[in-house]
């Protein structure tokens, strides 16, 4: 009769063989075990993981604490005058910002594709961020119960975040960031004239993953007037048909294109928001998949806080 230890060893060996075989199966088949286990583990861990992620974002989020002001009251006329002048500058800046936003909205509405499918954004809290090397993933606290399915697009305000990938659990899902996208993406570059303030749109530009991770590269003609600060809008009908017109990033730098510096130059594009530090995003659901409970969804895609 076999001893208990021997039985344990045999079971262990069987499990090891099963896992070994599973690790070599095509991911469509090999992912079945993970597809069952992952939602269960996510469901169990989300209550702890989501608050921990929020704490981590609060600790590391850049540029949030710069606006904190002192509590001291100005006591002299000089101090009042300084404050008054500072307020005038702020008002002027805000007025300028309003004008820019109005123009941006007009241009966005202008470039949005008419044939893009109608979608309803559903707000989803981010529970964790994982950088697994070749791809970075956000885990969100929304799942099939909220209408989330693989292939749907995730956005943050006007910016593209990525796409929902398998496995999608009842209360959790993974969003693969657009910065991990391997294939090229078709974009439009929108640039504002320094003299007139008018926008010019440059079509038929293709971006691909850049180095360091989290950036994109695009090659344009050497005499192209595109410069740093131009907006890069998604125009890809294949990979993100429902996100055309969304902001992919901003041209961070214009550099030499080493393989052919005489003809081309390279645009280094960085996402407009740091995708690692998002607290909440919106997943675009097809209009007919709209969740029944309106309290669980945020209809305004700009509602996601960052």
């Amino acid at each position: 009769m076999a001893s208990p230890l021997f039985t344990s060893q045999r079971v262990l060996l069987a499990v090891a063989l099963l896992l070994l075989v599973n690790s070599q199966l095509p991911s469509g088949v090999g992912g079945l075990i993970g597809g069952v286990l992952r939602p269960v583990v996510d469901f169990a861990v989300l209550p702890v993981r989501a608050p921990v992620h929020q704490i981590a974002v609060n600790l590391r989020e850049p540029g949030e604490d710069e606006a904190s002001d002192s509590n001291g009251e100005p006591r002299t006329a000089e101090a009042y005058r300084e404050e008054y002048e500072a307020a005038l500058v702020t008002i002027d800046r805000q007025r300028q910002r309003i004008n820019e936003l109005v123009r941006t909205l007009e241009v966005l509405q202008g470039v949005r594709e008419l044939d893009a499918p109608d979608t309803v954004p559903v707000a989803a809290k981010v529970a964790s961020y994982t950088d697994a090397g070749p791809r970075a993933v956000l885990t969100i606290a929304r799942g099939t119960r909220d209408g989330i399915a693989a292939g749907q697009t995730a956005v943050f305000k006007t910016s593209l975040v990525g796409r929902v990938v398998e496995p999608v659990g009842p209360s959790s899902a993974d969003v693969e960031l657009v910065t991990s996208h391997d294939a090229g993406l078709q974009v439009r570059v929108r640039q504002r004239s320094r003299e007139t303030g008018a926008y010019t749109v440059y079509d038929n530009i293709r971006v691909s993953r850049g180095e360091p991770a989290g950036t994109f590269f695009a090659e344009v003609a050497r005499d192209s007037p595109i410069r740093r600060g131009a907006d890069v809008l998604l125009a890809d009908a294949v990979h993100y048909p429902d996100a055309r017109g969304r902001l992919l990033g901003v041209v961070q730098n214009v550099t030499e294109y080493p393989p052919d510096p005489e003809l081309l130059k390279r645009l280094v594009i960085r996402p407009a928001v740091d995708l690692r530090f998002l607290r909440e995003i919106a997943v675009l659901l097809p209009e007919n998949d709209r969740p029944q409970d309106p309290g669980r969804s945020a209809v305004n895609s700009g509602g996601g806080g960052g």
Binding site: R49, L59, P134
Partner: protein, 185 residues
Amino acid sequence: MNWVVFGVTAYVFFAVQSGFAVGWSVGAGVTPNLLLVLAVFVGMSARRSAVPWSLLVVGVLLDLLPGPVREQGTLVGPQAVGYLAASFVVLQLRNLLFRESVLTMVVLVFAVGGFAALVESVLYAFRGLPWLAGEPLAWGAMEQLWRRLQELVYTAAVAVPVGLLLGATRRVWGFSGRPRGERVF
């Protein structure tokens, strides 16, 4: 070993490791591996028969984090097999080292983590072969190993305070002494 304590600790470490990644990532997204520290702690002190099972659980949990395989879901196997193989490394090495020391934990983090990373990288590399899965990753094995080495250095640094913390709770873990008849060498 008290499996309830192991389960609760693994739960907390898994939640913190996955949730806090943004908070303590350095460089190209390198984060410490708390579950590896737990695996080493258990591997140093638990009964011989419990070590492979506990490391297998740790490996499966690590496989359940988003991995390098794109879009097709979560692949359970590479890290689980890697940690299972590494359990035999820790069982061989632990008798040669002073188990109560935090430095031992640091050494074993490199040994266990390094061995698990090797096995994992090999298994992912094999997936690129056309007569197996035929799904090569867009990430070279050397790049994977370099990244794992950075993670191991970071984990070794984190293993000191975490190891001290775990060491302080040693009583509740129910580690028994070496069973009669267990081979030392």
